[in-house]
């Protein structure tokens, strides 16, 4: 009987932890409103891909925007829509996801990143260089389907 209680407690704890971690899933909008990012879970890690762009086409070419500023030349023809700009986040507990990176397609730079959920619809996304103090925080808002 004791073993069954322990196993149930373990299972429940895991489910609660998993549910907390999965609060990150969904579609989010950065403060500049220029893109929308869908955060998904792959294995135990979280990834965010661009699913919408305010300006989807390159004004110069009229074609869908590609990752033209990527330092890796072979990736410069990859479409921005669908591009995974958040990578490898792990849930730390306490509404924080860490050990990930954020990519800025505007300049082709990748930064270390930590995500903090300040409320169920708001994320503080802090990209930084080396130490957290040398960084910039952007506030992302959760989006829902129009009712």
């Amino acid at each position: 009987m004791k073993t069954i209680i322990i196993s149930c407690a373990l299972w429940l704890a895991h489910l609660v932890g998993s549910a907390q971690a999965d609060q990150l899933l969904g579609v989010w909008e950065p403060s500049n409103g220029k893109a929308r990012v869908k955060i998904e879970k792959i294995g135990e890690k979280y990834y965010g891909k661009i699913v919408w762009l305010k300006e989807p086409n390159d004004p110069k070419t009229g074609q869908p925007k590609v990752d033209k500023n990527n330092p890796d030349v072979s990736l410069r023809s990859v479409p921005l829509k669908g591009y995974r700009m958040l990578k490898d986040f792990k849930f730390l507990g306490n509404n924080q996801w860490d050990n990930g990176t954020i990519y800025d397609p505007e300049n082709g730079s990748t930064y270390k990143c930590i995500i903090k959920m300040t409320d169920s619809n708001t994320l503080d996304i802090r990209g930084y260089i080396g130490v957290e103090a040398l960084g910039r925080t952007d506030v992302w808002k959760r989006l829902n389907t129009k009712k």
Binding site: E40, Y47, W52, D119, A133, L134, N144, T145
Partner: protein
């Protein structure tokens, strides 16, 4: 008993497996992106606010360490008013001037509806001369040079998706002091500016405001205009906070930028040289330099940028004022208060190099 432990273990593992059984491939599957077009904020009270950036702005710098060298130049000294002894007008020839530049700017609050940044700056100018002139200012410049140490803050407050306010303030301690013999904090000179503006689109923001400034050497109140603009081609742009600085920007790539323009640099420097002549007279040097320059900014490694600047430095003001007590006074462009000593700083070429850690 063993069976129970085994069951518990299998039960736990299976729950982990099902929790992890999400899409497990990194490959980009075909997706209908149109479903993301009609979305609303989940929080109905959420608002969008404009950000302080437009496309392709030159990068803002977290930490910057630089060095400036100025070529040979003359200073024509006017009469040293009311001084005993050396009062004759004389030209002094300098073989050059150089010094270190250091600054740091760190965002301390970064929210959608407010961004607050604090910074520190240090600039030293050493004057190198062929000979000693008997003018007390000349002696002060050659023996101690000029030093600025300051703190500053910038607040960006967006009101909506297109309207914003910027408030900047700095307190600088300027003079011919050294850290072993520092200047009293009461000589701190405060500059401020407030700008109200509109972010027209992601390529243009414009604003107007007023500043309390020492950029012309002495205290002044000047209207200011902000314009950050990028052409639709994303090749050319303008970065302007007139009249302090104006730059035309040529973008070769996001990591390779050329800027053509000018900057008006200046402040009021307390001269406390220990020669007994200047120290007792409450004197400040109203120094202002107009620098016409070309700046090349390039990324050496992702976040490490190098800036190389070459230009011509025009001496706009190098006069001395004498204060009654320690109180600052306002002359403006039209005041008739006479200077204690009127000098002319000759122009010369200059070169500035810096290594910078840029902001994400």
């Amino acid at each position: 008993m063993l069976r129970n432990y085994f069951l518990t273990f299998v039960f736990f593992l299976s729950s982990c497996y099902f929790a992890a059984a999400q899409p497990d491939s990194l490959t980009q599957e075909e997706e209908d992106f149109s479903i993301y077009e009609n979305l609303n904020f989940a929080d109905e009270g959420a608002k969008r606010f404009c950000t302080p950036k437009v496309f392709d702005l030159s990068p803002s710098k977290f930490i910057s360490l630089g060095y400036e060298y100025q070529g040979a130049f003359d200073i024509d000294y006017g009469n040293w008013s009311n001084a005993s002894g050396s009062t004759t007008q004389k030209t002094s020839r300098f073989s050059g001037a150089d010094g270190t530049r250091l600054s740091a700017n760190i965002p301390v609050i970064a929210k959608t509806n407010v961004v607050l940044q604090v910074g520190f700056n240090y600039a030293k100018t050493n004057y190198h001369s062929y000979a000693i002139n008997q003018n007390p200012l000349d002696a002060a410049l050659k023996s101690n040079g000029l030093t600025t140490t300051g703190l500053n803050t910038t607040l960006f407050k967006p009101f909506s998706e297109d309207k914003f306010m910027i408030f900047q303030s700095s307190g600088d301690l300027n003079g011919d002091y050294s850290f072993s013999d520092p200047l009293h904090p009461k000589y701190t000179r405060i500059s401020s500016a407030v700008i109200f503006g509109k972010k027209v689109n992601d390529r243009k923001m414009i604003g107007f405001g007023i500043s309390r400034t020492y950029r012309v050497g002495e205290l002044n109140y000047i209207p200011v205009m902000l314009l950050n603009w990028t052409a639709p081609s994303r090749t050319w742009g303008v970065e302007m906070l007139a009249p302090a600085r104006v730059n035309i920007r040529k973008t070769f790539s996001p990591r390779n930028i050329l800027l053509f323009g000018y900057e008006l640099e200046g402040n009021s420097y307390r001269i406390v040289s220990n020669d007994g002549v200047t120290a007792s007279r409450n004197i400040e040097l109203r120094r202002s330099e107009l620098k016409f320059r070309v700046t090349w900014e390039t990324s050496l490694q992702q976040f490490v940028w190098m800036s190389l600047q070459f230009g011509y430095r025009y001496g706009y003001s190098f006069n001395l004022d004498q204060f009654e007590s320690d109180k600052e006074f306002f002359r403006g462009f039209f005041g008739d208060q006479s200077y204690f000593q009127e000098n002319k700083l000759g122009g010369t070429w200059y070169l500035q190099w810096s290594i910078n850690l840029v902001s994400p």
